[in-house]
């Protein structure tokens, strides 16, 4: 079955089972490998993308359901104002260690800043607690979000 997705502003056809999670369609059918597989259960946040601007776990959405949504992935997030500020801050503070979770972290952080221009620590905890960083780069994730929001890094 062919399903039409809107990914990063481009219509993309995916010929796959409608139940296939968006995560695997991005990685296997659309060669967008920046979105990562971590747990397959919505517990780690590595697969976070934006659906109509909201941070969602792409391992938990079928492509049938994703067809109605505008999907943005890590490959395209820097084209938004908030995404540009976030990725610039991530580079400035050299946030990653292994880097595997960072696409998901950046997507969650961008969605937070798109809604909340000056997030408090509690806002950051609430928005980012769904994203595991096994290397524990949390000190810098928090600092980079504050820097992107225009505060002190």
């Amino acid at each position: 079955m062919t399903i039409l997705l809107n990914v990063n502003g481009i219509p993309r056809k995916v010929a796959a089972d409608p139940d296939k999670p968006l995560l695997w369609a991005l990685r296997e059918d659309l060669a967008l490998l920046g979105t990562k597989f971590g747990c397959g259960a919505g517990l780690c946040g590595a697969c976070t993308v934006h659906a109509d601007g909201e941070a969602v776990r792409s391992c938990q959405i079928s492509i049938a359901d994703a067809a109605a949504l505008k999907i943005t992935t890590i490959e395209h997030v820097a084209s938004t104002a908030a995404g540009k500020r976030v990725t610039d801050s991530w580079l400035a503070l050299d946030v990653p260690q292994c880097g595997y979770c960072q696409a998901g972290q950046i997507m969650s952080a961008t969605a937070l800043l798109a809604h909340t221009t000056a997030p408090s620590d509690a806002d950051i905890d609430a928005a980012m607690s769904g994203n595991i960083c096994r290397c524990a780069t949390y000190v810098r994730i928090r600092a980079a979000i504050k820097r992107a929001a225009g505060g002190a890094a």
Binding site: E28, C39, L43, E75, W90, D94, P96, Q97, C98, R134
Partner: protein, 724 residues
Amino acid sequence: MTATLDRRTLLKASIVAGGSLIFDLAAPFTTANAAGAVPINAFVRIAPDNSVTIGAHYPEIGQGVRTMLPMLIAEEMDLDWSQVRVEPTLADEKRYGQQITGGSESTPLNWIPMRQAGAAARAMLVAAAAARWGVDATSLTTASGTISHAPSGRRLPYAALAEATAKLTPPDAATVPLKKPTDFHIIGTSVMGVDTPAIVAGRPLFGIDTALPGLAYAAIEMCPAFGGSVASASLAAARGLPGVRHVMTLNTGINPDGPADAVAIVADSWWTANKARAALDIRWADAEQRRHSTAGYAKAAAAAMAATPGESLLKNGDAPGALARSARIIEADYHYPFLAHATLEPQNCTALWNGETIEIWAPTQWPEDGRALVAKALGLEPEAIKIHLVRAGGGFGRRLQNDYMMQVAQIARAVPGVPIKLINSRSDDIRHDFYRPAGWHRLKAGIDASGRVMALTDHFITFGRDGKTVRAAEFNPAEFPLQVIGHIDVGQSLLATNVPTGWLRAPTSNAMAFVFQSFLDEVAAAGGRDLPTLMRDLLGKPRELPGSDGLPGFHTGRARGVIDKVCAMAGWPAAPGGKPRGFGFYFSHRGYFAEIVEISVGKDGLVAVEHVWVAADIGSQIINPINARHQVEGAIIDGLGQALAGQAIEIVDGAVIQANFDGYPLPRIDTTPAITLEFLITDFPPTGLGEPSLPPVIPALANAIHAATGKRIRRLPITPAMLT
């Protein structure tokens, strides 16, 4: 594991197509623990545009080695970091020397050889310029990849000397002088990770991102009970599913010479392959394995602790006599659980069988071990196996095991010409790890009337097979404080297990630090002292104690240095009315770390870690300060997570029951404390940082909980129920 090469063959310069100059460099191994001169190669390419590509030959798992090792070469070559590009080399120990990310050894093993490699390349370029200009080499200076002759004002980029350099006889790298640390312009500066821009942009980078034309995907159903095998398997239903191409039985490597113990499914999509596992009908032969359980181990450990140790591990002085003379005896039992590694990138590997040779893309910490496994499993010569080093999404010791490499190689051989990517699901990853072994300790210490330690005994219950401890379950007699107590008696008893075990970040030390530093806090308190005071007393005068396995020994002065430093940083002892704090010290992987943890404990028994102070001594030079800070912050939070997040692997009927991050939780951003870190710079060679900061934070936390609640933490993980 490492070939010995004739030094004369090691260093050469040559021009390749396109006019690039290539240095294939080697430098003798000069670290103290080298049994002989072991070559380490670095690969440097100077392009006609004077950009320089440096090969990174160690596996990158997030510890920053892909950045750090090229920094050492670029420093001595007098390059600007901005003109350097870094690319991973292949796995090839004959050419590059040891390529293992483990033991925090990358820095101590490469600190001198990589700099010698860079210095030798620079010396050859300088010699070429001196010959061209007819001047003495000592009148030339180098900077930013150029050579200058100040008296005449002449100046050339390195690339302009490529052809002349390629004709020169290389120097003995060991004789080329190295820079003074005061002249460093790259080492000691904070350099961004070379892969950070690709990570932030979401570009393919990791093993799981390997993209090849015609790629197919594999998932594996493994016997849940470790060591069980396939009794019978009905594969037809899975074979008939849309998208499924092959279904085959497989040996996972737990019993390498045994029968098949898994079924692999190859499909057009990993999601399809993984989903098709539900259609498999497998009966396992696992009656023996199903008798194993962590509850059973706990019972057996209790019985063993009550009995005489199976063997004596370490005896110094007369512990029974010293205990009899002691003014007071302190006794306690300690326990820690099995732990998984839970790298965020699940284990995966990609392989392509070409009919006679195999090409592998492996996120591994130890590629040559994987090569040996694949060679044995497929009956190949090692040279028939080409291994690409791909960035790994975390390692923590898990990827020192190469089960995924031999598994995918077997699958790929059954499907010639088709690249196969094997991916573990998260539950596969947690249920088929090589676990940090659980352990039990029955401890006894005697103190005199002034609180001084007279004697210490330990009965250690661990896991073994055929009379020997299983991997990573051994006791290291050099663990602190055994070397500094006069009367010691350590015995060991072994329990049988079917659980695969392995090295987890700061192996042995991550458990022993908790046991001994927590117990010493009890001993200190019994004598009316605090732990730093007891530690200073135990350490005595500054001196280096004998090392083992060729490693440098424990230096009491360096330990004292970090203890005094962290106490000064945190203001220990705290003024009355301050928040509860605990102290921990440990020496592991050549590094000295003292840490103080400040906490609050809620009425619900929930512990919040508010601040951690860290004083560290890893020698004379912090090579990449920003990365050094990252490694310490990560290890501190990792250690706190081991203790507080609820991490424990439980075995029921021979199999792990935890399946994902709900049952095996990792620390999240909302539990992150403030971390204050200072490095003491000392006159010792620089050493590694991936591991040694982790162990002391766990006892420091446990000791803080005692300060807060009066309750001793003698088993991990810490749960709110223990504190209410």
